[in-house]
């Protein structure tokens, strides 16, 4: 019953100075809303990156040539050992060795990747600078999680014979031919002046902002070597698909063992590198986690400022109502009832701010930020609610105690 009474007294106090209560509440509201929104932006970004990497296949290893040939990477003083030069290539034979079911039981499939830069596609009057240009075998599509929107892939026969056939991404199809993906199938497009027939259009993967996975042209690897990179047995990289995401590390070890033996190198002087999608994912996740922490910290500071605002206003309130406190004490209020009255007052202010802040956080998170849809984390809502309650208590306890400790005669004499 006394609590109900304290709540009633506290509400009278809050209502007594509406403008001030509203402004103080606003401080908490902004703090809570910014915590929720910024953490939602962090979570949204993190999820978008994860989804993007997931689309590229989470069980894929990429074996690529070490571009820093020689001992430069080893640092000064270390003499260069072994026959190392740009001449060490990744070859189709290397790739074939990786599919050995005995030596590499955890490797499911492999695909060669030959790339070329600055490839421009043309169709009638339209031109398009291709972002990603890949020469490979059909197994590439399965490894990189591609599917067709229209048409068909090229065959293994096309891959080795170097047929002038291309599978293009949705962005390329839109830019060159326009309208539906199906209309591009069967058309002849020019890639750096060489004619290719479009056999299929890939299904859209969607952009994550920085790079567009749909801006891609895939042709048989032998055609790429013939017409773009000049004949060379070297591949830019080999895509390796592990049996599952769980055996990524085993697959990586097997690949390294086979290639170390074939290239006659050790882990100290490898002329190739293996990139693990899971590692990239981990790195990306760590990066976004750092980002989220920073955003959260900034928002937390604004919440702290809001809390100090509550304390400030409560101190002003206590000073202003010194006389009232004296009267209450004279008519029999104990320390406890004065403390609870002012504590509940600061709790009311901060909890109203908290609840409104959660609502504002949800509304604010409905709008995309820099192309990313923020995702409100349910735990931030609970956290915010608890934090606003804690602010009310922590920043209210000092003013409330100050009020309760006033001696009645001093408080009554106060003008």
């Amino acid at each position: 019953m006394m609590i109900a009474e304290s709540v009633r007294f506290a509400l009278t106090g809050v209502m007594a100075n509406k403008m001030r209560s509203i402004l103080t509440t606003l401080g908490i509201l902004i703090g809570i809303a910014s915590v929720i929104i910024l953490l939602a932006v962090g979570a949204g970004t993190s999820n978008a990156i994860k989804a993007q990497i997931g689309k590229l296949g989470t069980n894929v290893l990429t074996v690529s040539r070490q571009t820093t040939a020689g001992g430069r990477a080893a640092g000064g003083g270390q003499s260069v050992t072994g026959p190392r030069s740009r001449g060490t290539n990744l070859t189709l034979q290397d790739m074939a060795a990786l599919t050995d079911p005995v030596m590499a039981p955890d490797v499911a499939a492999t695909a060669p990747v030959v790339t070329a830069q600055n490839v421009t596609g043309a169709y009638r009057d339209a031109t398009h600078a291709v972002a990603t240009f890949v020469g490979t075998t059909p197994s590439y599509f399965a490894i990189s999680n591609d599917s067709l929107a229209a048409g068909s892939y090229f065959s293994d026969g096309d891959a080795s014979s170097g047929s002038a056939i291309a599978v293009i991404g949705n962005t390329v199809a839109q830019d060159l031919v326009g309208s539906t993906p199906a209309s591009a199938v069967g058309q002849t497009i020019a890639l750096n002046g060489q004619n290719f027939v479009v056999s299929g259009v890939l299904a859209q993967k969607g952009s994550s902002g920085l790079n567009d996975p749909d801006d891609i042209v895939v042709i048989p690897y032998s055609a790429a070597q013939d017409k773009f990179t000049g004949y060379s047995p070297s591949l830019a990289s080999i895509s390796v698909q592990a049996q599952s995401a769980d055996v990524m590390n085993q697959a990586q070890n097997e690949v390294q063992m086979i290639l170390d033996a074939r290239h006659n190198v050790t882990s100290a002087n490898r002329d190739y590198q293996v990139r693990n999608q899971a590692q990239i994912l981990t790195t990306a996740t760590n990066t976004t986690a750092t980002l989220t922490t920073l955003l959260g910290a900034v928002a937390g500071i604004s919440l702290l400022v809001g809390g100090i605002g509550v304390m400030n206003i409560m101190l002003v309130t206590v000073t202003e109502r010194t006389r009232e406190i004296g009267i209450r004490k004279a008519i029999g209020a104990s320390r406890g009832s004065i403390v609870s009255q002012f504590l509940i007052e600061s709790l009311i202010i901060s909890l109203i701010g908290g609840v409104l802040g959660i609502a504002a956080g949800y509304i604010g998170s409905a709008f995309p930020v820099l192309g990313t849809q923020p995702e409100v984390q349910w735990w931030t809502v609970w956290l915010s609610f608890l934090v606003s309650a804690a602010i009310g208590l922590v920043f209210g306890i000092y003013p409330a105690n100050k009020a309760a400790k006033l001696r009645p005669i001093d408080a009554l004499r106060y003008e």
């Binding site: 009474e5 009267i327 209450r328 004279a330 008519i331 029999g332 104990s334 320390r335 009832s337 005669i409």
Partner: protein
């Protein structure tokens, strides 16, 4: 039942230390019986306000003992003192000291809230007491909507609502015009006629003349204790030298 409501025994109150020491009360002993109406008078600085603070349990004595309604107040902690103020004493102040922005009925029922009386009962008691001071029609008015005399009557209602053994008034007419002053003093007289014990601090001789007994303070001492009427109001003319 027959013991005195107020029993002060050699009570001193000393402010400051050493050179700056001020003896606001110097070994004061006084006994006030149940049902008496006592006026405490004196110039400012005579110690009458300190006396009021000690009697009202708002401040403790430096030396001596004070029994209120048979309870030794020196042994009580802060919580118990708050309860004593709540149950045994009703305060009436010079400047009314009502809680602003709070309706008369809520002001009156506030001591009952601190006494943990149920809400419905509180309101009934508050309305009853407001009626007894003639303000039933103003129950829902806020202090700012009431005249000075009305505010003081609300304050008296608040002081009476817990049915205390002592009504302690500090210059109750100090902020009022003559007509309102008379109304308040008439109210005190009728309360006294109903057996209420009243201690009133004042510096006005005509206000003090309405009491049964006048105690004059000077420099922390009682210099005169003058009984005008018997405890229950019968005329009497005995001067008791201090």
């Amino acid at each position: 039942m027959n013991h005195a409501v107020i029993e002060l025994d050699s009570v001193s109150k000393i402010y400051g230390k050493g050179e700056a020491e001020v003896r606001a009360l110097d070994s004061v002993s006084i006994s006030i019986d149940r049902g008496d109406f006592v006026a405490i008078i004196g110039a400012s600085g005579s110690g009458k306000s300190t006396m009021m603070n000690i009697i009202g349990c708002l401040d403790g004595a430096t030396a001596g003992t004070y029994h209120l309604d048979g309870i030794d107040t020196g042994t009580l902690d802060e919580f118990q003192l708050a309860q004593i103020r709540n149950r045994k004493i009703g305060f009436v102040f010079q400047n009314f000291n009502l809680i602003p922005r709070t309706r008369a009925v809520d002001n009156v029922s506030m001591p009952l809230a601190y006494a943990k009386v149920h809400r419905k009962e509180r309101r009934e008691r508050a309305l009853e007491v407001l009626d007894s001071v003639g303000l039933a029609s103003r129950a829902d008015h806020k202090p700012s909507q009431l005249s000075g005399g009305q505010q003081q009557r609300v304050a008296i209602a608040r002081a009476l609502v817990t049915n205390p053994v002592l009504l302690l008034a500090d210059e109750p007419t100090g902020a009022l015009d003559t007509r309102s002053s008379h109304e308040i003093l008439d109210l005190f007289e009728s309360l006294h006629a109903n057996g209420r014990t009243i201690v009133m601090i004042t510096h006005e001789a005509d206000v003090a003349a309405r009491a049964n007994r006048v105690v004059r303070f000077q420099d922390g001492h009682i210099i005169e204790d003058h009984r005008l009427r018997s405890v229950h109001g019968h005329p009497e003319a005995t001067v008791v030298p201090a």
